[in-house]
């Protein structure tokens, strides 16, 4: 048995057919040796993964590194995923764990060649790629918000980041947090209450 999976470029027709498959089917095909199916999962979830990690680590370079590592961990551990339909929540759990671990132990990094290669400097791309939150009031406000978010307990922070800031479905957030949808609502509520208190000078 070959240790490395076969890498074949796939055409756009094959990509389109994979795009129509559910997460459960893509996970099943990946486990069956079809690596293109995992590429489809990368396409589907890389934005979410980068966005969530970016909110947690605070810079694009680390967010990209975390995203790559999270997909590698997900690929290697795919066989242990008990509910293949919940791949998205499971991946977000890996992303958030890696991000918070990195944040605990890392030194702040400056821009590197990886970030240079992957982060475009064309400001016109921002509107296209910025995700659900495109309005920026001021960098100072963004910084204060980041500081306030960091003061929240872990689950509240993750719930606010994934659900309120990044607009992930509550079910997926529940999968990432390992709790029920009702608990996600409660964590969001508690997080919002604390943020209201921490940011009261702006409210």
């Amino acid at each position: 048995m070959s240790l490395l999976m076969e890498t074949k470029p796939i055409d756009s027709e094959a990509k389109r057919s994979l795009a129509g498959l559910s997460d459960e089917q893509l996970v099943g095909r990946t486990l069956g040796g079809e690596r293109a199916a995992f590429d489809q999962l990368i396409r589907q979830y890389q934005r979410q993964a980068v966005a969530v990690s970016y909110r947690l680590v605070g810079n694009a370079h680390d967010a990209l590194e975390v995203t790559q590592e999270a997909f590698l961990k997900a690929f290697v551990g795919l066989g242990s995923l008990r509910q293949p339909h919940a791949f998205g929540g499971w991946l977000m759990r890996i992303v958030s764990n890696l991000s918070l671990n990195l944040r605990r132990g890392r030194k702040i990094r400056r821009q590197s060649s990886l970030e240079d290669a992957l982060v475009s400097d064309q400001t016109s791309d921002i509107a296209r790629d910025a995700g659900p939150l495109r309005r920026t009031q001021s960098p100072e406000m963004g910084r204060r918000l980041m500081q306030a978010l960091e003061q929240l307990p872990r689950r509240q922070r993750l719930a606010i980041t994934m659900f309120t800031l990044e607009g992930l479905p509550q079910k997926q957030v529940a999968g990432a947090l390992g709790c029920s949808v009702e608990s996600v609502k409660w964590h969001v509520f508690q997080g919002r209450k604390k943020l209201k208190e921490l940011l009261k000078e702006f409210i």
């Binding site: 240790l3 490395l4 999976m5 890498t7 990946t30 040796g33 690596r35 995992f38 590429d39 990368i42 890389q46 934005r47 980068v50 966005a51 970016y54 694009a60 997909f71 590698l72 690929f75 290697v76 551990g77 795919l78 066989g79 242990s80 290669a117 992957l118 982060v119 475009s120 064309q122 400001t123 921002i126 296209r128 790629d129 910025a130 995700g131 939150l133 495109r134 309005r135 920026t136 009031q137 001021s138 960098p139 406000m141 963004g142 918000l145 980041m146 606010i160 309120t164 800031l165 509550q170 609502k185 409660w186 969001v188 509520f189 919002r192 943020l195 209201k196 940011l199 702006f202 409210i203």
Partner: protein, 175 residues
């Protein structure tokens, strides 16, 4: 409506996750209660602040996808979790229980028939001190027993018949 419950409903309302029936009820409450309306206003302002979170810098998603895909291609295949059918697991547990039962019973039966210690093996000697020292001679497992002499560590307390004898094992032949 309690204040905390009201605030919980407001946050769900703003997140768009409040069920329709509760939405109507909350809207009626907001139109009638100025305190509730004020609370709603505060949360709306917070939502505005949350929108000020700095957006992601522009990222070349195609390049990122290729990079991750290439990294994944270097990995070994994902480890398959082999699940035994439920019936197999049940059968294995039943078999293990039977074996345990059989060996357990046979072990108990052997214990009743004969000593479990090996016979004729030089293992230890017993130096017995105290009022019951003489009884040690009658022990079926110990063939030779050396009684402690006057110079042994016997004390006055050892002479108390209610107190068990001290046994210092040095060597003995088991039979």
């Amino acid at each position: 409506m309690a204040s905390e419950n009201l605030e919980f409903l407001i946050t769900q309302y703003l997140d768009g996750s409040l069920p329709e029936r509760e939405r109507s009820e909350l809207e009626r409450k907001l139109s009638e209660d100025p305190a509730a309306a004020r609370l709603m206003e505060e949360h709306q302002k917070l939502s505005g602040l949350l929108c000020s979170a700095s957006p992601l810098p522009p990222i070349d998603w195609d390049a990122l996808e290729l990079r991750i895909s290439a990294a994944v291609a270097m990995e070994v295949e994902p480890v398959q979790r082999h699940k035994l059918p439920r019936a197999w697991v049940g059968a294995a547990v039943a078999l293990a229980a039977c074996l345990l039962l059989v060996f357990g019973i046979s072990s108990l039966m052997r214990r009743d028939e004969a000593p479990i210690y090996p016979v004729g093996v030089e293992a230890a000697a017993a130096i017995v001190v105290g009022p019951h020292a003489e009884e040690a001679r009658g022990q079926p497992m110990i063939a030779e027993v050396t009684l402690a002499s006057a110079s042994s560590p016997a004390t006055a307390a050892d002479e108390d018949p209610a107190r068990p004898s001290h046994v210092f094992i040095t060597s003995a032949t088991l039979h």
